[in-house]
C-alpha cells in the first residue's frame, strides 16, 4: 500500500539525488556536452561530409539521434551506479535502510535521479546539435517517452551494477567493457542494413539497438525495426531489470549481511 509518508520519502531521495548531480555539474553534465560536440564536429561535419548519405539522410542527421541517446544512456547509468555505490561505500545507505520505507521507494528515488540527469543531458545535447544540423523532430512526444524509458532502463542497470560492486573499479568495468560496446554496436554510427545478415541477427540481441532505432524514428520519422517490436523489447528489458533490482534491494544483497 502506498502511504503519504512513502511519497514524502520518495520526494526526499529524488530531491537529494538531483541536488547531488546539479552541485557537481562540471563532473556530471558538462562532459557529455563536450564529448558530443566533438562527435558532431569530427564525425558529423569533418568526416561525415565525405561519407555522404545514410538511408537517405545526411550522415550528420543520421548520427544525431544515436549520439543524443548515447549521452542519455551513459548519464542515467553512471548517475545511479556512482551515487548508490558511493552511499554503500560511505555507509550512508544505512540512513535509508533504517527508515520506514519499502524497497520500491528507495529504488524509484535513485531511478528518478538517473532519469532526470539523463533527461537534462539529453535536452542539452539536443540543443547543441541544433548548432550543427537543421534538426526537425518528427515525433516530439515519442522523443520524450524514449528519453524516459531509456533513463529508467539504464538507471536500473546502474543500480544492479552498484549492488554487486565491491570497489570503485567494479563500477567502471561494466560501462567500459559492456555498455560502451553495446552503444557503439547499437547502430549509432551506421544502419544495421549495412551489416552481413549474420551480424544483423546478432545485433538484434542488443537492447540498445532498439532504443536508438525507436529514438531515431521519433526524430527522423524512419526506423530499421518495426516500432512495436522496439517498444516491446524496451518494455521487457525495463520490467526484467526492475524486478531484479527490487528483489536485490529487498533481500539486502550487498547492503545487509
Amino acid at each position: 500500500m502506498i502511504r503519504k509518508e512513502h511519497l514524502v520519502a520518495l520526494q526526499t531521495i529524488t530531491y537529494k539525488e538531483t541536488r547531488r548531480f546539479l552541485r557537481i555539474w562540471v563532473q556530471t553534465l558538462l562532459p557529455s556536452i563536450i564529448t558530443t560536440t566533438l562527435y558532431f564536429l569530427i564525425f558529423g561535419t569533418l568526416i561525415g561530409s565525405r561519407i555522404g548519405q545514410m538511408k537517405g539522410y545526411d550522415y550528420m542527421d543520421f548520427i544525431v539521434p544515436g549520439l543524443i541517446l548515447m549521452a542519455v544512456i551513459s548519464n542515467a547509468y553512471s548517475n545511479v551506479v556512482s551515487s548508490f555505490y558511493g552511499s554503500k561505500f560511505q555507509h550512508n545507505i544505512e540512513e535509508m535502510i533504517v527508515a520506514p520505507m519499502p524497497g520500491w521507494v528507495i529504488l524509484t528515488g535513485y531511478i528518478s535521479g538517473g532519469v532526470l540527469r539523463g533527461l537534462i543531458v539529453g535536452v542539452l545535447v539536443t540543443v547543441v546539435s541544433l548548432f550543427f544540423t537543421d534538426l526537425k523532430i518528427a515525433h516530439p512526444v515519442m522523443m520524450i517517452v524514449v528519453f524516459l524509458l531509456t533513463g529508467i532502463l539504464f538507471s536500473c542497470a546502474g543500480f544492479i551494477n552498484a549492488v554487486y560492486a565491491k570497489s570503485f573499479d567494479d563500477i567502471s568495468i561494466v560501462p567500459t567493457f559492456v555498455l560502451t560496446p553495446l552503444i557503439y554496436l547499437g547502430g549509432v554510427f551506421y544502419s544495421i542494413d549495412m551489416l552481413p545478415v549474420f551480424w544483423q541477427n546478432v545485433s538484434l540481441l542488443n537492447p540498445v539497438l532498439y532504443m536508438i532505432d525507436v529514438f531515431r524514428y521519433s526524430i527522423l520519422g524512419e526506423s530499421d525495426i518495426p516500432l512495436r517490436y522496439g517498444f516491446l523489447v524496451i518494455g521487457l528489458f525495463i520490467l526484467s531489470l526492475l524486478v531484479i533490482s527490487l528483489r536485490l534491494l529487498n533481500k539486502g544483497v550487498g547492503i545487509r549481511d
Partner: protein, 308 residues
C-alpha cells in the same frame, strides 16, 4: 509495556561465524538499558538486527508490540539509531543530513526543517549547520548522528558506543543530554566500552559474551554482587611492616602507595579504624577501578575469557 522483546535470536553470518546463539532480551518502556560485552561479543549484531541493518537467521524481535517480520515499517518508526561508525555522507552539509533523514521517515519538508533546527540546537551544533559534515570534529560528528537519530522523535533510541573517542567534557554533556531525554520518556539502549558510563546512566544491564547473554539484571542488583572493592591509598610515611587487617588485602605499589582490596562485609570504615590505631596517616584515596568493571571482568573470566 516492553519497548523491546527479543526471543531466541540467532545470527549466523555467511562465512559461518555464529554471532548470536539464541539470545532472549527484554527492555521495558522508559528504561535506560546497558548492553555490554567485549569486542565481537554480539552487541552490534543484536543492534543491527533490531534496526534492520542485519538479517537475522532465526528468532523474533518485537518493538513496542510490533513484530519485525510482520510490520517492519512500524518497528522502524519507533527506533532511532546512533551507530558506532560515522555513516553519513561526508560531502553533505550538516543541516541537509538531518532534514533528509526526517524526509526518509515521511516527515514533510517544512516540518522536517523545524525539527532539524530543534535537534541541532539541542545537540549544540546549530552553528555548524551549513558546514560539510567531513569538516566537523569527532565530537561534533557524534552529536550530528544523535541529532539525526532523534529527528523523527523515536520512542526507542539505540546508542552504539555514542561517546567513543570524544573528550571528557563532551562526554559528560552527552550523558546529561541522554538522562534528559530518558527522563522525558525515551527508552534508551546503550552499548559502551566505558563501564563508568553504563554504571552512571543505566538502570538495567545485560552482558553478552560470545553470542550468549550471561547476565541480565538491574544495575543495583548486579553491583550488589560485588564482594570487594579496590582502593589506592597514599599514606604519609613508609612503614616497616605491612599491617594485617581483617577483610583487607594490601599490596604495596611503592613505599607510600598501597592498593587495598576491601571485602564488602569488612567495610572501609573498619579499614580506617585499623589504620588510625596503627598510627598510619592517609593523605589520599581513590578507587582503583569502578565496581562494574571488576564485575564485568569477573563474569567474563567465569566464562573462560581472560583479559590479563
Amino acid at each position: 509495556m516492553k519497548a523491546l522483546e527479543i526471543k531466541q535470536l540467532e545470527k549466523c553470518y555467511s562465512n559461518g561465524f555464529v554471532a548470536l546463539k539464541g539470545i532472549d532480551l527484554d527492555v521495558q518502556q522508559g528504561d535506560f538499558f546497558a548492553l555490554l560485552g567485549a569486542n565481537g561479543a554480539g552487541k552490534s549484531t543484536t543492534i543491527g538486527i533490531v534496526a534492520s541493518l542485519v538479517n537475522k537467521t532465526s528468532g523474533s524481535v518485537t518493538v513496542f508490540g510490533h513484530d519485525l517480520d510482520k510490520d517492519p515499517e512500524a518497528v522502524k518508526r519507533c527506533i532511532g539509531l546512533v551507530p558506532q561508525e560515522f555513516n553519513f555522507n561526508q560531502f553533505e552539509d550538516v543541516f541537509d543530513i538531518v532534514v533528509s533523514q526526517a524526509g526518509y521517515y515521511g516527515i514533510p519538508r517544512k516540518k522536517a526543517v523545524e525539527r532539524a533546527e530543534i535537534c541541532l540546537k539541542q545537540l549544540e551544533i546549530w552553528d555548524k549547520r551549513n558546514e560539510p559534515s567531513r569538516e566537523l570534529s569527532g565530537g561534533m560528528k557524534r552529536r550530528l548522528m544523535i541529532a539525526r537519530a532523534l529527528v523523527h522523535e523515536p520512542k526507542l533510541l539505540i546508542l552504539d558506543e555514542p561517546t567513543a573517542g570524544v573528550d571528557i567534557e563532551i562526554r559528560r554533556s552527552m550523558w546529561a543530554f541522554f538522562k534528559k531525554i530518558n527522563a522525558a520518556g525515551t527508552t534508551i539502549i546503550l552499548t559502551t566500552h566505558y563501564l563508568e558510563e553504563a554504571e552512571s546512566l543505566c538502570r538495567h544491564i545485560a552482558i553478552i559474551n560470545r553470542g550468549e547473554v550471561i547476565e541480565n539484571t538491574d544495575m543495583k542488583g548486579l553491583l550488589a554482587k560485588s564482594s570487594e572493592e579496590i582502593f589506592v591509598l597514599n599514606i604519609e610515611n613508609t612503614v616497616e611492616t605491612i599491617p594485617v587487617i581483617p577483610g583487607c588485602s594490601i599490596q604495596v605499589i611503592d613505599g607510600t602507595t598501597w592498593q587495598i582490596s576491601v571485602q564488602k562485609e569488612a567495610g572501609i570504615h573498619a579499614l580506617f579504624n585499623e589504620l588510625t590505631t596503627l598510627g598510619i596517616k592517609v593523605t589520599g584515596i581513590r578507587n582503583e577501578s569502578n565496581r562494574l568493571e571488576q564485575l564485568f571482568l569477573k563474569l567474563l573470566a567465569q566464562k573462560g575469557r581472560n583479559y590479563d
